[in-house]
Amino acid sequence: MKPDPDVKLDDLYQDVILDHYRRPRNRRELADADRRAEGNNPLCGDHVTIFLKVESGVVREVTFQGGGCAISTASASLMTEVLRGKTLDEAKAIFKRFHGLVTGEPRETSEPHGLGKLEVFSGICHYPARVKCATLAWHTLDAALRDDRRPEDVVSTE
């Protein structure tokens, strides 16, 4: 029998996560958004809308509405803080690294992920059932960044 991973509750619900859950940053509608996308996690009923304002390939503003559990709300909140001022290519690259972090993707290096404060989500990979909570906002962002999407598209993590 595989032993349960030795993860402490504090590793998962770090203070930064709890802080962003209680006081989410940038949780508001962006009236002059030029891109928006909606995401659902049918498993837990979470729903998030991402608003983006992009100028010359750079994220000028990003906000969100909705949320749900502490992990998905804090993830959306931290995402908006991290992405402001990033180019679209940088944003996509951060999502890729973040996805690797929370899914526990094997890596060839033991270097840090270079994700800064997003590394507070490193404990998630020990809770496979919660990975979708951490990635909901990011998948929704990814959809908003795709050029070929129709306005009515809704992202689902299922």
């Binding site: 709890l18 859950y21 837990c44 009923g45 559990c69 809770y127 909570c133």
Partner: protein
Amino acid sequence: MALVDRTPPRPSSRRGGAAPGPRLDVERIRRDFPILATQVRGKPLVYLDNAATAQKPRAVIDAISAYYESDNANIHRGVHALSIRATEAYEAARRRIQALINAEAPEQVIFVRGATEGVNLVAQSYGRPRLRPGDEILITEMEHHSNIVPWQLLCEQTGAGLRVAPINDRGELRLDEFERLLSERTKIAAFAHVSNALGTVNPVRELAGLAHRAGAVVLVDGAQATPHQAVDVRQLGCDFYVFSGHKMFGPTGVGVLYGRRELLEALPPYQGGGEMILSVTFEKTVYAALPARLEAGTPHIAGGIGLGAAVAYLSQIGYDAIAAHEAALLEHGTRVLGEIPQVRLIGTAAHKASVLSFVIDGVHAHDAGTVLDQLGIAIRTGHHCAQPVMQHFGVPATCRASLAFYNTTEELDVLAAGVRKVCEVFGV
């Protein structure tokens, strides 16, 4: 084996109309379930997710192993010894189930994959050839998705309409609305015996009587009833009754459709294949009699035998003793959770099975579930495949502790302490 101490329970342990019954020797019963000795995340397992699936007693595990180790063969057609033994064991299980639910004859017990397949079988074989545009199917707001979606599919196929009888804020079906929605257009009334998300026990006999007076055929989803209470299909007056083996301490992948004989005999086969025919030529195939006609293909033989063992185990303990013990558990759980100010119970029906659905102010159910998991406590968090129920109560999800007769009041105290820990972690 004396699993039951015949001393009557203390009066204070009776609640919710449960029959006074003999007291369970819970510690002894727990030793019958090997998994209950497991440690999870370094803590003793507190398994409170029985409405999702129940744990299996040694008797069930042994019956399945014994079948594979010494009797394994295909059934109903071999002339050799193993096939005869396997057939006898499988058919003995059917007879045990017949006795458990007081069906008139063993061939009215149809083995299916589970309650879900039972509902789909009735929708497609009974409903599809009969329903016409303008006909109606009446269900309730508290149904599991498995008693909603098969009827929606049937409505799409036939042009019939779906009507939904609402619940009140205690999670009880509104009988006046149920009655008002019945009419000569209602061809099928389908409802849960016990709600999986709320624990509400419906007055099946009364509802079936109302539906029959309107001329409807009645299907009862008993998936959450058979783990907790005696079911007498004739006393309930239902036309079809479905349930799943794995929720009543048997294996997954097997369940039962009971039907009144004349209705089952009129059903066209649900699936075609082996087992369900008398003779096949390319010009004409003659179908077998019940139950084989509705059981195409090699069945889940080990599953049927395992379910038979679960039924024998349940019968030995007795539903009176189970109901008395669970009523005491429900009362204790309701009290210890109710003492936590941040907790709101969802589903407070007067007549309730041992299900405690609740939300914690300021904490999402999944966060609560993860913290409780760290403490070795297994509960279900989410919408419980009953999204309309969640919508009624205006919550995205609930925490649900669902109890079985092997649970103890001490485990509920561990749950309550865990919920207080959740409140502490999230500062609510």
